[in-house]
Amino acid sequence: MLPHLDAAFNYARWLTRNDADAEDVVQDACVRALRFFSSLRDDNGRAWLLSIVRNTWYSRFPKRKSEQAIELDDTADERPGTDLDPEARVIQLQAVERVRLALEQLPPDFREVVVLRELEGFSYKEIATIVDIPIGTVMSRLARARERLIPILRSSGQPIGEARELS
């Protein structure tokens, strides 16, 4: 379970959008996971743990499904780009920040499939297990989430699919 702790926390952090709730949820989820350890039925421990994280979050805060406003005061992680020149780095940081804000603006059902697909690299089948929806719904939800992200990012000044885009 510990090898999947980063994945569990990252997912919870995107669901809850704050550190304190994410920590609480993951800790609870781990306690539950330990209790049901014997029912671990296949080798995909990561997907299994994340599905517990998700259930823990929604059983605790059923009302969260209807969204609140986004917070803007969070500081962004700056994962990439230490070897870029300063100017490119600033531009990239801005891109990271725009992406973070755009994702946080998505409804949670859309946000989570994007996070599970793009940040965790889960297959449609695995996402279907975690979120407990049919594979077809995973596909259409991802497509709709991406359709929504494009205008949100563009309106924040982020070029997409043009020469100025940063890879």
Partner: protein, 243 residues
Amino acid sequence: MNCHEIERQLDAYIDGELAQAESEALQSHIAGCAACSQRLAERQSLGRLVRQAPYYPAPDRLRLAVQAARKPSRLTPTVLAWAASILLAVSVGGVMIAGARRARTAAESSASIANDIVGGHVRALMGDHLFDVRSTDQHTVKPWFLGKLDFSPPVKDTASVGFPLIGGRLDYIAGRPVAALVYQRRQHTINVFVWPETQPAPAAAESLRGFQVRHWTRDQMAFWAVSDLNAAELDEFATALQQ
């Protein structure tokens, strides 16, 4: 395939979820269709962008909490394994009692060291004897300890992450001479006490008389950091020092 069908399958295509034949059909349409190839480029660009979103790794505090909650794995409950389990339980029990006793004395001595550490920190600040060597250069501070201690403490400058080294001195903790390294964060002073330690101990954090104390061992050295700084910033400092 027409554009409408392409649109429906595009996400599955870029996510590698289409079967070979479907993938190929889609590719051959896109090769001859400007609108669809534009749409594909847009989706791929979006993918690259989204994958740059922050990834939030689990904080150490959570890792430790989960580790602590972890129970030892259960023995397989087959009848044949029973006798063996009982034997094992008896011997494990003995080891556990001895282990618990050792852990308790270790915990007690750790608590008394933490007390000493806070005492040393307060003494240094009150008596204004914070430095024997005052320098922001690790290459000045480290050699200063040569000949004064029977070990050479690792000295790292963490100015680049906002905790500049400002000097060092000799101090006494738990009845032995130790290296004290002094760092600064705004108006707050951080003392780091270092001495050789052959027994690796798990990293620990506590707060004592209003001071934050962090403890870890590394490369056979014990490190104790103490400050009136807030917990989060001292954690940040401790992490920087351990890197």
